[in-house]
């Protein structure tokens, strides 16, 4: 009766499980909401299994071209679910430590995952927008859920207002595209642009494109639309910052590819220029301002902006292998960011956020093993071989050079070197400074285990970057 409904089963099941979790939560009386948390974790595992089971290897459409299932969407959905699984675990540890566990937090988290999955396999402008709103709305309220924290409320408000502005921009661009082409599905838009349009129509398309690029840049946090990133990373509770900086970035990648590549590949020459400016500014501003930060969450926020600049390099190349490079980059970034914020959660304790650089002083003496993990994370972020972060940068720069933008690659390398400064400063603090206090670090065994695995994954992936890259390439071929 319904066309191709089996393709949407993971999303449908996730929606049902999230609703069940909502009901279940009202019966979960324990202070730590163990029941809700476990249920949410199991839900994600079920969804991961379902994605494996039902997803075809080929490209298939469903629901009147509103939904697409292709290798890229499958890989992205899997990564999003796995990362969210780990992120929820970190979040739970954080919330438990700060005695602020709320069942709705994880339910909204599930809805955010649903939104990201919808974005990953969106095949029409409408679905992209709705998925984005589902994700954003959940994120706003996850930040604001810490009602007694003034900074969290402020961050939520800023995020909400700027996010609404960005959605407005995107929607404006979408309405322009719809007005010109008369269709909502990306396939139709692509064939419309491909058919060769006259100059008048082309101007309208580009007019819409400008707003779409602005919307995407806002969501990614690329300069000059980055103002929200540092404030929100700093203001939000670390548990939410952790979430914002990981899985949604992958969804933003999906949105970028869907809109720019699936829909408007024929306007490559138009959006390439815009993205080059965004990329250059992001790398410059992100890396330089990060140097002067003393708050590590804020520093990581600027580092995100810089990473977004690098990530855009792959998109700029405009080829499938370039997109694969970007995909590789964003997945790697998500794993590294997860580990870094996990480290902040690891060091924090009740009523205290370890978000100052000074908190890392002498970590090597307090706990050599976790100092080593942080060392791996920071080296990887800085792009020092043979860690995975190096390969990420290497792949995108290679693509840019292949497209003939050698100067852009050179600039990227220079900023990468500048950026290495503030990552190495943390390592210096950990290994060569004396700690202010020699208190033992209190953290649960599970947290220690997950954090160690997270660090090891980065180390191991660094030796076998080919496997992940092959996956990305096959996803985008």
């Amino acid at each position: 009766m319904l066309p191709q409904i089996q393709l949407v089963i993971p999303e449908l099941v996730l929606l049902c499980l999230a609703s069940i979790a909502l009901v279940l939560d009202t019966y979960s009386t324990s202070k730590n909401k163990v029941l809700t948390f476990r249920f949410v974790q199991i839900s994600l595992l079920i969804v991961i299994a379902l994605i494996f089971v039902v997803s075809p290897d080929t490209q298939e459409y469903a629901f009147n071209n509103h939904f697409i299932s292709d290798p890229m969407s499958v890989v992205l959905k899997l990564v999003i679910c796995i990362i969210s699984l780990v992120v929820f675990f970190y979040s739970y540890e954080y919330l438990k430590e700060h005695e602020n566990v709320k069942g709705e937090y994880f339910v909204l988290g599930l809805f955010a995952v649903l939104g990201m999955m919808i974005m990953s396999s969106a095949a029409s402008l409408l679905t992209i927008y709705l998925g984005l709103e589902l994700l954003s709305l959940s994120l706003y309220s996850m930040i604001a859920m810490h009602k007694d924290s003034l900074t969290a409320s402020e961050a939520a408000m800023k995020y909400f207002v700027l996010g609404a502005l960005a959605s407005g921009m995107l929607l404006y661009g979408i309405s322009m595209l719809y007005g010109v082409t008369g269709v909502l599905d990306l396939q139709g838009i692509s064939s419309f642009a491909n058919a060769g349009v006259d100059a008048d129509m082309n101007i309208m398309l580009v007019f819409g494109l400008v707003f779409i690029v602005v919307g995407i840049a806002f969501k990614l946090g690329a300069v000059p639309f980055h103002m929200w990133v540092p404030d929100i990373y700093e203001g939000s509770p670390t548990a939410v910052t952790l979430f914002i900086s990981t899985a949604p970035k992958i969804a933003a990648f999906a949105m970028t590819i869907r809109l720019l590549s699936d829909g408007l590949q024929d306007l490559l020459s138009d959006w390439q220029g815009m993205l080059i400016i965004l990329s250059l500014l992001s790398m410059a501003v992100g890396n330089i301002i990060a140097i002067s930060q003393t708050n590590i969450k804020r520093m990581l926020a600027y580092s995100t902006i810089a990473h977004v600049g690098f990530f855009l390099l792959g998109i700029i190349s405009g080829t499938a292998s370039g997109y694969a490079g970007s995909m590789f980059y964003i997945i790697v970034y998500a794993i590294m960011s997860m580990g870094s914020f996990g480290m902040i959660i690891f060091l924090g304790k009740k009523g205290y956020e370890a978000d100052q650089l000074d908190d890392f002083k002498g970590l090597a003496k307090r706990s050599p093993w976790y100092a080593f993990i942080m060392l791996i994370l920071m080296f990887s972020m800085a792009g020092i071989p043979p860690l995975i972060g190096f390969w990420a940068k290497w792949f995108v720069i290679k693509e840019v050079v292949a497209m003939g933008y050698v100067w852009l690659a050179a600039v990227a390398v220079v900023f990468s070197v500048i950026g290495a400064f503030y990552y190495l400063r943390i390592i210096k603090l950990m290994y060569f400074d004396e700690p202010d206090e020699m208190l033992a670090i209190k953290a649960s065994r599970e947290l220690r285990l997950v954090l160690s695995v997270n660090g090891m994954v980065i180390l191991i992936l660094g030796f076998i970057p080919g496997a992940l890259m092959a996956l990305c390439l096959s996803a985008l071929s």
Partner: protein
Amino acid sequence: MITQYIFYFFAALLIIAAGMVVTVRNPVHAALFLVLAFFSTSAVWLMLEAEFLAIVLILVYVGAVMVLFLFVVMMLDINLVPMREGFARFLPVGIIIALLMAIAMGSVFTAIYFNGAHLDVVTPTATDVNNSRELGKLLFTEYLYPFEIAGAILLVAIVAAISLTLRTGRSKKTQDPSAQVSVKRADRVRMVKMKSEKKSG
């Protein structure tokens, strides 16, 4: 012909009302002008034979959204003087930006795409077509997937609104009237039987 006059009437009303929304000083008046603007819009839509949308605009926006809006605006005691202070100071910048916007939009909108040459003339369908039924069919077939996502968004909005505003436990300082009413005498007064005491010594 008369329909044309009616259209111009409502279009003018809409523009005037929308202008008043941004220019009147009193926020409550502004909200009420917005209501008027919605009304005129819905009248214009009715003339386009989009009766379902027209009535739903009234039902949802005027009947529910704007009521809550008024509710909030009325309760706020906004002091208007400081809000108008910077007007003269920011005026030059504002004018420049407005001009830039006008030029940018004008250069795109004039002459090329929106001159009507590209647009198809809409032919009215037969009058026995039921607007609501057709919309419903479309929503539940072609746009089923986005429609369901929109439902999920509304669910998230409800969950978020409730979890952000509901305060339970000790931080909540409101009374619970039903608990107060159901208080029994035994909850408050304890009858104690004891022997009368004598002053010793």
